[in-house]
Symmetry: C2
């Protein structure tokens, strides 16, 4: 009697994860590391990328996939850096999807120059809720949180803060002008994601951007080590 | 031969709108005006309400329905104002819903003291995308946009800016410390919603909060005029 062994996939019903794994396989084949970069609207994702990539990363060729509901404002800004930037708009959906999912990213793969880059940064739609729910095939998740948003954000959007391995605290140049209590924020952060890596940055002044560049390079090196 | 005339409802398939109308009917029966207040995370909705309601509005009894993914931080803050505050959490859904819909608001109706208030402010989940897609039975929609979020937000989240009849531009006390170009922001706003009412406010210093209070009173008066 023949028996066929069917491997049980724990979340077989999750089509998004299945497609995310297919993306992951494609990225691996091209030896591309992928960062899923998330934040609330206006926290400074694009400015942080502009700052970090104004000077090329040592030995790391970077590409960016820009997720937006509408328009190409961010990709226009990044295009001046002379790195490959691909725009992905979610607005064909009802009112515009509030996040990227694995299938949207998959639809962008043919437009991405995967053989010419080592690191792909996917700038997600500005939103602290749903982007955290959808894997897209990334190696690492990072989020940007601006000090203008208040100390309570980790407690109010815990999944987002819990799902990221790096929290970039941005706009610290504004701290003297705010009532933001940084210690309280970090205490809340440790409540939802104890010990998560964090860095204090000002995309405007450049403070801390070196650490952000180093982190991007380190993610790129993860893949290089495998290759 | 008997004929039954079936009235065609344009968006009969839209269950949300059907429930929103049911909510609307209940609010009307109790002569309660309703504001749906939306913004990105950390734009200052709760602080604006704290400021506006620290002193009672003339002849208008206000209640607040707080929509959050998790926690009761905002309703705890508002409770000190001695107004009725009801908490609505969206986290029983997958990862937490990123918006309020009409059915969620409907589920909160029994907990709302509709006979004891004239105006209900529904503080939506912090998000610039999906909350704009779901009517909940409100009379008016207002949004808060912080100057720390950048001038491009109307262009990147056009549905939100288009669907609100009032745009409150908050945190103007920070303008001297930002590179935010207010004229450019207002130009972008008029591109997506020409002539929409707007007010410049600082919830922190109290600047412009009088206009915000007047607007809330005016919305409350709409219903009073009908009653």
């Amino acid at each position: 009697m023949h028996r066929t062994k069917v491997r049980i996939v724990e979340d077989a019903l999750d089509a998004n994860n299945t497609i995310a794994r297919a993306n992951r396989d494609d990225f691996d084949r091209h030896r591309v590391s992928v960062v899923n970069l998330m934040s609330a609207p206006g926290a400074g994702k694009t400015t942080l990328l502009e700052r970090a990539l104004a000077t090329p990363l040592d030995g790391v060729r970077v590409g960016v996939l820009e997720g937006d509901v509408q328009g190409s404002f961010d990709s226009d800004r990044l295009a001046s850096l002379h790195i490959p930037v691909t725009q992905l708009n979610t607005d064909p959906g009802f009112g515009g999807e509030c996040h990227l999912d694995a299938n949207m990213v998959r639809s962008a793969l043919p437009a991405l120059p995967l053989d010419e880059i080592d690191l792909l940064v996917i700038e997600n739609v500005g939103n602290l809720v749903c982007p955290a729910e959808f894997r897209v095939g990334e190696d690492a998740r990072a989020m940007v949180c601006s000090v203008t948003e208040g100390e309570d954000k980790p407690l109010k959007y815990p999944l987002m803060f819990r799902t990221c391995e790096l929290v970039v605290v941005n706009k610290i140049d504004l701290l003297p002008h705010l009532e933001f209590d940084l210690d309280k924020f970090l205490y809340h952060l440790d409540q939802v994601h104890p010990g998560v890596e964090r860095m204090l940055v000002s995309a405007r002044t450049g403070e801390g951007v070196g650490a952000w560049r180093d982190w991007l390079s380190a993610v790129a090196a993860r893949e290089t080590a495998l290759a």
